[in-house]
Symmetry: C2
Subunit: 434 residues, 2 copies
C-alpha cells in the first residue's frame, strides 16, 4: 500500500481556508497526481471560529491553537506556513526545517528578508521549501522561471506584482478619480488593506522583486536595497496625458542584468506603451513579462491575490513536494551559484526615456525658456503638449516625453527649473518602460 503524505497547515485565514477546501474537495484527483494519498492531518489557528469551519468540513483533522505544535507532530510531513509576518514565521519555518519537514509558504516578506538563510537551512536538512504563492498569486512565475526556462538565459523580468496598486491606477484611469479617492474606493471594495502603506509605496512589490531577481539573476539583495517609488504621486492628469501619448501608467517592478554587469532593479509607476501586453493588465490582475535569450518574450497574467488563486498555488506546491517525497526524489536546490555582479545600479545612473509634467505660468515665452533649459542639460524632447489648466487660472500644464537620457541629469535639470519662477509647482517625472 502507498505511504500517505500528511500536511499540517499553520494559519487558517482566507487563504488557509482555500487550501483546506482545495485539498478536501479535490482529494481524488490530487491523490492520482501525487501517486498516493495526501492527507490534511492538522490545522492550527489561534481563532477557534476558524477551526470550527475546518471541523465542519472534516471532523477527523486535528485542530490546534498553537502553530508550533504542528511542527512538532510526527504525523506531519509538509508544513504549510500561512501565518504571515517575518519574526514568528521565521521561527516556525526554521523549526519545521530543523524537524526535517518540507515547507510551503506564501510569505514574500519572510523570503525577501530571510530567504538566503532559510533556503540554506532547507538544503542542509534535505527538505523542500516552496513558495509559488509568494509572488503574483495564481501566476506560476516561480515554476516557469525555475523549470520551463531552465535551459534559457533570462534577460529581463518586468511585472505588475502588486494588485492593490494596479487596481487603484486602473480606477484612476477609468473614472479620472484622484489617488486618495481611488484608494478609498479600493479599500471599500476590499482591494486595499485598512493600512495600505506596504502596497502603495511599492514595498510589497519590492519584496516580490527581490525573490524574482534571486531566481532569474542569482541576485542576493534585500528589498531595502531596491530603488522603490510608490504610486501616491500619480495624478489623474498624468494618466490622461500618458494615454494621449499612447501609454498606460502601471505599477511596475523591473529586474534586468545590464551590459555593464550590474543589476537594474526598481519598483515604480511607469508609462508602458499601448502595444505592450502590460498596458492591458487591468484592475487587481498581476502580470509578469519575461524576456529570454532563446525563448524571446513570455507573458503571464492572472489574479495576484485572493483566497482561490493563492490557495491553488499553495496546493500546487504541496502536490509537487508530496509527489517528489513519495518518489524519494531529492529536494529542489534554490541557492544556485551566482557568479554575476551583485551591485545594483544607482537610480541616478539609469538610462531611460521620461514623462515630465510641468505646471507653469500661462505666459508667452515660458515654453521657449523651459525647452531651452532642458536643451542646455542635453535633454531632448520627443513629444510635447501644452494645456491651459482648467482649475487654476493663469497657469498651464506642459507634458512631454523625452528621448533616452540619464536620470541624474534630468533630476538636476528639473531641480534647477523648479527653483526658477517658470514653474508654479514641482515638476512630475515618471519613467517610461518599454
Amino acid at each position: 500500500m502507498d505511504r500517505e503524505i500528511r500536511v499540517g497547515l499553520c494559519g487558517c485565514g482566507v487563504i488557509g481556508e482555500g487550501v483546506v477546501t482545495a485539498l478536501l474537495q479535490h482529494a481524488d484527483v490530487i491523490g492520482e497526481r501525487v501517486g498516493g494519498p495526501l492527507k490534511l492531518a492538522a490545522v492550527a489557528d489561534k481563532d477557534p471560529a476558524r477551526l470550527d469551519i475546518v471541523r465542519a468540513q472534516d471532523p477527523n483533522i486535528s485542530l490546534i491553537d498553537d502553530a508550533f505544535e504542528i511542527v512538532a507532530r510526527d504525523d506531519v510531513d509538509i508544513v504549510v506556513e500561512l501565518i504571515g509576518g517575518v519574526e514568528v514565521a521565521d521561527r516556525l519555518v526554521r523549526a519545521a526545517l530543523d524537524a526535517k519537514k518540507h515547507v510551503v509558504t506564501a510569505n514574500k516578506a519572510l523570503l525577501a528578508e530571510r530567504g538566503g538563510a532559510l533556503f540554506a537551512l532547507a538544503e542542509a536538512n534535505g527538505c523542500d521549501l516552496y513558495f509559488e504563492a509568494a509572488v503574483a498569486g495564481a501566476i506560476p512565475v516561480i515554476r516557469v522561471i525555475r523549470e520551463s526556462l531552465a535551459a534559457d538565459r533570462i534577460l529581463s523580468v518586468r511585472g505588475i506584482i502588486n494588485g492593490t496598486s494596479n487596481y487603484i491606477l486602473s480606477s484612476m484611469a477609468n473614472d479620472g478619480a484622484a489617488f486618495a479617492d481611488a484608494l478609498k474606493a479600493a479599500q471599500q471594495a476590499g482591494f486595499a488593506e485598512a493600512d495600505p502603506t506596504l502596497d502603495i509605496t511599492g514595498g510589497d512589490a519590492g519584496h516580490k522583486l527581490a525573490i524574482l531577481a534571486a531566481l532569474a539573476f542569482g541576485a542576493r539583495v534585500l528589498p531595502g536595497e531596491i530603488p522603490t517609488e510608490g504610486i501616491e504621486s500619480v495624478d489623474p492628469r498624468d494618466i490622461q496625458y500618458a494615454r494621449n501619448f499612447g501609454y498606460a501608467i502601471r505599477p511596475l517592478a523591473v529586474a534586468q542584468r545590464l551590459q555593464t554587469g550590474a543589476l537594474d532593479l526598481r519598483v515604480h509607476p511607469a508609462l508602458v506603451p499601448e502595444g505592450d501586453p502590460l498596458a492591458h493588465v487591468d484592475g487587481a490582475l498581476n502580470a509578469v513579462a519575461i524576456q529570454g535569450a532563446m525563448v524571446g518574450p513570455s507573458f503571464l497574467s492572472g489574479l495576484g491575490a485572493g483566497a482561490g488563486p493563492t490557495a491553488t498555488s499553495v496546493a500546487g506546491d504541496i502536490i509537487d513536494i508530496a509527489k517528489n517525497s513519495l518518489a524519494g526524489a531529492p529536494v529542489r536546490r534554490w541557492n544556485l551559484s551566482s557568479d554575476g555582479d551583485q551591485k545594483i545600479q544607482a537610480i541616478a545612473d539609469l538610462s531611460s526615456r521620461y514623462y515630465l509634467r510641468f505646471s507653469v505660468r500661462d505666459e508667452s515665452g515660458v515654453l521657449a525658456a523651459l525647452s531651452g533649459k532642458l536643451g542646455d542639460s542635453g535633454i531632448s524632447i520627443e513629444k510635447m503638449v501644452q494645456d491651459v489648466d482648467a482649475g487654476d487660472a493663469g497657469t498651464a500644464s506642459i507634458a512631454m516625453l523625452t528621448h533616452n537620457t540619464h536620470e541624474g541629469g534630468v533630476r538636476d535639470s528639473l531641480h534647477a527649473i523648479d527653483n526658477t519662477d517658470l514653474t508654479t509647482a514641482p515638476t512630475h517625472l515618471i519613467r517610461i518602460v518599454e
Copy 2:
C-alpha cells in the same frame, strides 16, 4: 560520482539545432538543475550537412544518419523525436519506449492522432513521454495545466495556438491587405510554409486543441472530430467592422465543459472583445487563456514557433526527465481517468453571439426586410451599421452583432435570406467568443 544522463536527438533541423545549442551552451546550469551531468550522446539526421554543424560544436557527439539507430543505443537514456510526421515518428517513439527509453517530442500531429496508445505504452514500460513544445511553443501551457493547476478544476481553455494564422490576420488588420496578399507576405517573411494548408485551415490548431482538451478535460478526441474552420474566408472589411464594434478577429481554439456535460471544442476565427487580453496578441505570438474554478483567469503568451522558443521547451522537458530519472522518481502519468462525457457538442447546437455581414442591394426597404426575416427567426440584433460599398456601385454592406442565439437557427435563417434577392453575395458569419 553522479550517473550521467545521456540524450539522443532524432532530427536536427532548426529546432534540433536549437536544442543542441541549448544543451551545449548551458551545460553547467543544466547540470546543476538536473543534479548531475546531462550529456548529448548522439544526433541523427539524414542530411550530413546538418550533422556537420553539430560536429563543429562538439566533435565528441556520435553522428548517425538513421534515427532508429539512436533508439537502439545503450548510451542513450532519453530520445528526443524531432523528425515530425505521424507514421515514421510513431514507429520511432514506439521503438524508443519498447527499449525503455524516455521520450521528448514536439510532434503535435503524432500525439493528437496516436497519443492515447503512446501514453499507455510509455506507462507500461515505465517511461516518460513529454511534449511541452507540441503546443504553443515557448508557452509552458502543458506544465501549467498539469502542475500549477493540479488542485483546481479547469472551466475553459481558449487559445491562439497557430502563429501563422495569427500573423496573417494581424497583417490584414494592420495594413488592410486581403487574405491572399497577407498569406503571400507571411510566406515571404518566413511565417507561413510554402504549403500553408494545415495552418490556415485550422488543422494544426485542431491537433493542439485535442492535446489541450485531453489534459484539461480528459477528452479522448481525434482532431477530425473537432468542428474546425480556417481563416481563409475572413475579409479585411470584417476586421474593420469588428474593430468599429470594439472587437479584434483572432484565430481561436476553444475547449470547455458545458453544463450539459458535453464538450464544446472548436477551432475558428472569432471576434474577441478589445478588453480581452487575447485581442492584443499580435503577429506570430501564441496565447492561452485558462479559466479555473478557484484560480480565476490565467493568461499565458509567447512565441509559438521558431527554433529558440521550441528548443527551450524541449530542453526544459529533457531537464525535467533527467532530474526525475537521476532521482529515481516514477514517471508522470498522463492518462488520467476521465469520468466525463466524451460527446462533442455539434456546432449547430452552439449558443453564441454572432457577427454577420450582408452584401445587399443599396435600395430602401432592404434593411427592414432583412431585420424582419432575422426577427422572424428569433434572432435579435444588438448593433448594426450600414455602409455603401465603395467598390461595387448599387450594393451596400450591413454588418451586425447578434444577441445570444443558436447557431443552427442562424445558419438556417442566413440560408433562407441568401436565397432571396435581398443579398448580392453569401452572408459572412463569424462567431464571437468572450
